[in-house]
């Protein structure tokens, strides 16, 4: 009866596990389930409200030119017509930049359209779920903050202790929740997991309801928020975001959260734990690691490395980088597999064992997780750390043992990270550090590193260019190695945090258009309110540029030609090339440096020939 009633109501909740054409019946069911759940949780008002305010997203999908389905839920306005979605009016072209005339459109009128805040269905539901203060499974640790002196800093305390019924809690730009299949809370970015246990229960109910129909819930769109679900093994990750990022981007971010959890516990042990005990409280094992996850989410929001899935290395004269690599290359011990040098949270160089990991490449995501671990932990600044860590993309089921030590106390900007496969190798790995320290002292490396810094876009010498991000798919001489990108400092007008975030949001928007699954683009010329952006992806590179607002298309193209030439010229400095390898097997091979000469002649990096 209930079901019949609600079937009339069309749902804005969109479920996209199936091809779009088949999505209608499940969408109905889901909307129904949302309403039922709504009814259950808070009998009258909210559910009715929610149901009356949902709209079917179908009209939007009919628009031939619309690649941004996420805007479809404009529920209060008139029926969507192609004109209101100004995003679709960016001039886009698949092959030829000059094919279309530029059209000036203001950025995201949709955002303004969507400001009324009624019908905030999902979030209303999630936030209003009855709060039960139950310390499930915390076993005498329910209030470690009060009982123990080791409290969290005010900023963190405020996040953890936030009142989850308050508006301010609901207004956070991006919520991330992790729960177990049994619906047990594991992590919440804001507010305590205990207070959110029933909210997470509702999330799990959504997941299992859809699952019972042999389907997978992927996302729910509301007017202001996108709710994205990701199920990985026994864990369910949920993101509730008002950032207007694409579903794929949000899912990628959830994946990073999942990987960070794996990096601490390994996939194998998580599966094992939940096989044994479905309702295990994983917080027992993650206790103390919340800050690492908090730190990761802050980085994801503020560092484009995650968006681009590439690492950013500190620009350094090639000769200096080579000499550092050689120092690392010489300080080896059995079972050592990676030696990584980091300064100011950016890579200086990576040297890796060659036989153990013949074909394997270190994935950028694994490097990001390592950098986050180091960054999120001030404790590393004292002493030498020895800790197990899993690199989930390298092998999600086993641990490496990481030796972490700063080389320049008390400043603590230059950090050495040595990864070994041997749990007992601490003393021999620590000995490698002494050797590295000595060699760096002899070559005065530390003071040279201290002078290294990121560069200013003005060095490119293109007047209208404000900022860019350039990601080559293969750095020359670094074939199939670590994916890298280069980017100048964000300078005025993007020096304030708000403006930085705004620029990043623009980049995220461009990125989502380029990588849209339904309608991928190769080139976008996007005139926004206060700047003009041009994104371009070829088989050789991916490039995002930001220009002053009055630049013309011709100017922008000339600028990009110049920029690409400049990058080519500076390549040695901007990227890690010739990544050296060492052998820690009993008979060290002599070929570790020969790769350099082998690849010396591969000079064609492709992009100039495209121009």
């Amino acid at each position: 009866m209930e079901v019949d009633h609600h079937k009339d109501t069309e749902g804005q909740a969109e479920e996209t596990s199936d091809p779009p054409t088949e999505s209608n019946p499940p969408a109905d069911t889901l909307a129904t389930s949302l309403c039922l759940l709504g009814n259950h949780m808070f009998p009258d008002q909210v559910a009715t409200n929610a149901c009356s305010s949902v709209n079917r997203s179908e009209p939007a999908t009919l628009q031939p030119s619309d690649a941004s389905v996420e805007d479809s839920g404009l529920d209060e306005g008139p029926p969507p017509n192609p004109g209101t979605d100004s995003r679709t009016q960016d001039s886009e072209c698949q092959t030829n930049l000059a094919a279309h005339p530029a059209e000036r459109v203001t950025e995201d009128a949709a955002i303004n359209n969507a400001q009324s805040d009624s019908g905030e269905f999902v979030v209303t539901m999630l936030a209003k779920a009855k709060l039960e203060e139950q310390g499930i499974g915390v076993k005498g640790r329910s209030s470690p903050l009060l009982e123990t002196g080791i409290q969290e800093s005010p900023s963190f305390t405020s996040h953890r202790d936030e009142d989850v019924t308050a508006d301010s809690w609901r207004r956070h730009r991006k919520h991330v929740f992790v729960l177990s299949e049994a619906g047990k809370p594991i992590y919440s970015r804001y507010g305590s997991e205990e207070a959110l246990s029933s909210t997470m229960g509702v999330m799990m109910a959504l997941v299992s309801f859809v699952q019972s129909g042999d389907n997978i819930i992927r996302s729910v769109y509301s007017e202001e928020n996108t709710v994205v679900f990701l199920q990985k093994g026994p864990l369910v990750l949920v993101c509730v975001s008002s950032s207007r990022q694409s579903e794929q981007q949000l899912r990628e971010e959830l994946l990073y959260v999942y990987y960070q959890i794996i990096s601490m516990l390994t996939q194998a042990s998580i599966s094992r734990i939940f096989e044994h005990k479905k309702n295990y409280d994983l917080r027992r094992l993650l206790a103390g690691s919340e800050k690492i996850l908090d730190g990761l989410l802050n980085l994801v929001d503020s560092d484009p490395s995650f968006l681009l899935a590439a690492v950013h290395c500190l620009p350094l004269a090639a000769s200096l980088r080579d000499s550092l690599s050689q120092i690392l290359q010489k300080a080896i011990t059995p079972n050592l597999v990676f030696s990584i040098l980091i300064a100011k949270n950016q890579l200086l160089t990576i040297v890796q064992e060659k036989t153990v990991i013949e074909d394997a490449r270190l994935a950028p995501a694994d490097v990001h997780l390592l950098l986050n671990l180091i960054g999120a932990s001030s404790a590393f600044q004292a002493g030498e750390i020895w800790t197990p860590i899993c690199l989930p993309l390298f092998n999600p089921d086993c641990y490496f043992y990481a030796y972490i030590s700063y080389l320049d106390p008390p400043d603590c900007t230059v950090c050495l990270l040595l990864l070994s496969t041997d749990k007992e190798a601490f003393y021999s790995v620590a000995e490698c550090k002494r050797k590295i320290e000595e060699a760096m002292l002899a070559q005065n490396s530390l003071s040279l590193i201290a002078k290294a810094q990121s560069y200013s876009v003005s060095q490119v010498g293109v007047s209208d260019l404000r900022h860019f991000m350039y990601k080559p798919f293969d750095v020359p001489d670094n074939y199939r190695q670590l994916t890298q990108f280069t980017s100048p400092e964000m300078e005025a007008p993007y020096s304030s945090e708000e403006e930085k975030m705004r620029l990043l949001d623009l980049y995220r928007y461009m990125h989502s258009r380029i990588h849209s699954t339904s309608r991928p683009l190769k080139l976008i010329y996007h005139v926004a309110e206060r700047e003009t952006l041009l994104a371009w992806v070829t088989s050789k590179f991916e490039l995002y540029t930001c220009f002053s607002p009055l630049v013309t298309k011709t100017c922008a193209i000339t600028a990009i030609t110049k920029l690409l030439r400049w990058i080519k010229k500076e390549e040695d400095r901007l990227f890690i090339r010739y990544p050296p390898k060492y052998s820690t097997t009993p008979n060290p091979s002599k070929s570790s440096r020969s790769s350099r000469s082998d690849q010396q002649d591969t000079t064609d990096n492709g992009f100039l020939s495209l121009l």
């Binding site: 002196g149 080791i150 001030s378 004292a382 030498e384 020895w386």
Partner: protein, 263 residues
């Protein structure tokens, strides 16, 4: 086999064990840096070297989190002294010592010395709260001031314990009495099969400390250093008498063959 010159081995090893949030890192930091500052949950273990007279004493500050439990026995291997730390305001933290941590010490030296340390005494004990113990008090006050006026510093390296209770001078309920610790010390000796008569007496080996005010911290570490000296000297003497096999070497050799890679 590539030449791996051995790092000069420390003469003795001291390990800090205990549940998370009892203040192991803070204790060590107070002793080494003479400061009380924010710490964050330790990852794995942290290794420090302390020069004590002519001797090198290595100190392992371990993570109390269950996540790293498997590593405990590795950190404890060959330890000359183990500091079992609990929080005087948290009964569970004492119980955990017996339940989770005691078995980790199986790999320690047979003549290993055990100390039981109740930290955060400043929260329950006016004497520890108003500790005039050393040079640290005034400095400590400034630390606290700074901590309160510079929240951005805190967020970068978050932590603790400017506990509201102690700031206002209000004292918390002490959940672990000294007698409880003494009783546990007796059980530890029995677990180790040691004779109470021949071992160090409980009243010497049970401490109550405050990393925050510095109360009893120096006394703790220095007592232990002095106590491990005889074992250092004995070991040195034995080595001269009959050179023994270096276990570390053997392990490395077998490690190479056995588990060269996890993948």
């Amino acid at each position: 086999m590539p030449d791996v010159p051995k790092m000069k081995k420390p003469d003795a090893k001291l390990v800090l064990l205990g549940d998370m949030n009892v203040g192991k890192t803070s204790l060590l930091h107070r002793y080494m840096e003479r400061k009380f500052k924010d710490t964050i949950s330790t990852v794995g273990g942290a290794f420090f070297l302390k020069q004590w007279g002519p001797h090198n004493i290595s100190i392992w500050d371990t993570a109390g989190r269950e996540q790293f439990h498997g590593l405990g026995s590795m950190y404890c291997r060959g330890a000359a002294a183990v500091i079992l730390t609990y929080d005087v305001t948290n009964w569970q933290s004492l119980a955990e010592l017996e339940e989770r941590f005691l078995s980790l010490t199986d790999t320690a030296n047979h003549d290993c010395i055990y100390a039981l340390v109740g930290n955060k005494a400043d929260l329950t004990d006016p004497k520890a709260h108003l500790c005039q113990d050393s040079d640290v008090l005034s400095e400590d006050r400034t630390d606290c001031e700074e901590a309160r006026t510079e929240p951005q510093v805190l967020s970068a390296c978050p932590t603790p314990p400017a506990s509201p209770a102690s700031l206002s001078g209000m004292l918390l309920h002490k959940q672990v009495a000294r007698e409880d610790a003494v009783a546990l010390y007796g059980r530890i000796l029995r677990y180790k099969g040691l004779d109470e008569k021949g071992s160090l007496p409980a009243d010497r080996m049970c401490f109550e400390t405050s990393a925050k005010t510095g109360y009893n911290v120096d006394a703790l570490f220095e007592t232990l250093f002095d106590l491990v000296l005889p074992s250092i000297l004995r070991k040195r003497h034995e080595n001269q008498a009959s050179p023994t096999v270096d276990l570390e070497d053997c392990r490395e050799a077998s490690g190479k063959r056995g588990k060269s890679s996890c993948c």
